[in-house]
Amino acid sequence: MGNSVDDGGQRRWVADVIVLPKPGVNDPEGESILGGLRSLGYAGVTGVRAGRFLQVTFVAVDAEVAAQAVTEMCEQLLANPVIETYHVEIVEEVADAVDEPDGVSGGGDG
């Protein structure tokens, strides 16, 4: 991790990480947003959980190593397993766009 990106065999990955409060953990921010949606007239909204979205760009030799690395990042730092759950999706960056993050983020608005 953290070495030069064009080392032989290293591939570039983007991990989308969603962190949410565990079920049962009080989430006053989510409750507040729920109240806002109901005030707007969305009476059918029954729950909001407020969390965090993180996008991690990194290199790894293959998909398995990449997945293992992100799991470790989540367990150690990105999420607090005492109070939060996390969900990860990893995609490999296409080779012809490595120097232009805006071009490969898929949905970024630059």
Binding site: G24, V25, N26, P28, E29, L77, N80, V82, I83
Partner: protein, 234 residues
């Protein structure tokens, strides 16, 4: 070579100078700041993790500070029985480092709380509360946005049954009320100890109640515990 008390300065700490001043002037013992990159705590009789916003509170309060270089020797220091007091952000760092169980969530009001509060001492068999009377009521200030103590029910029950709850928020008469528990902490918990009683985390600020001119001196009852620690260390 004489022993002293260490107060760790992380980037973003703002209670470090307060704690240093309270120890040096309020209590009257030798104390020094410990940079978060230091790796030798061997001459310290006790370590205080102060309040503030270490590393900007980014991600979660204490989440980044947990990986500071000083935390490796601190872990060893605590494992050997060295006294550690985490105040406010220091408490948050101790939970992130798993030196104390649970976590501190956003206040239920979603607001930063900055006011004086009453605490009831629940456990005097820790190195930091040994000088307190059982159920002593203390008047201390709080200053936090993430102070709502959380642990799952099994953990809370274990903390209760093993006497690790050190202090709870209460009213001036010592009653546990919803109003007194302003941040929404589970079971009104304001402070916790580890099993050995040498690591204590506390959301209120004893170091800001160490001078009568600044509103009160109840914090000295806790901070005076360092005399016994220095006596052992010399």
């Amino acid at each position: 070579m004489s022993a002293e008390i260490g107060v760790v300065s992380f980037p973003g700490s703002n209670g470090d100078e307060d704690a240093l001043h309270a120890l040096r002037v309020g209590v009257g013992v030798p104390a020094r700041l410990v940079d978060y990159r230091e790796t030798d705590l061997s001459r310290l009789a006790a370590v205080v993790l102060p309040g503030g916003f270490s590393h900007g509170d980014h991600l979660r309060p204490g989440a980044i500070a947990r990986f500071a270089p000083v935390m490796t020797p601190l872990r060893d220091f605590a494992a050997r029985g060295g006294p550690v007091l985490g105040i406010c952000n220091g408490f948050q760092i101790l939970t992130e480092a798993h030196l104390l169980p649970g976590a501190l969530l956003r206040n239920r009001t979603l607001r930063f709380h900055c006011h004086w509060t009453y605490l009831r001492v629940e456990q005097t068999a820790t190195v930091w509360t040994a000088g307190c009377a059982p159920e002593q009521i203390m008047h201390l200030p709080v200053a936090h946005g993430d102070g709502a103590y959380y642990a799952d029910v099994a953990t809370l029950n274990r903390l209760e049954s093993t006497g690790r709850v050190v202090a709870r928020y209460c009213d001036g008469a010592g009653r546990l009320t919803m109003a007194a528990n302003a941040n929404g902490s589970a079971r009104s918990i304001a402070g916790l100890a580890n099993d050995a009683g040498n690591v204590v985390g506390l959301m209120p600020h004893p170091e800001r109640a160490a001078d009568a001119m600044l509103g009160g001196t109840d914090g000295l009852v806790l901070l005076n515990a360092v005399f016994a620690m220095l006596a052992v260390a010399v």
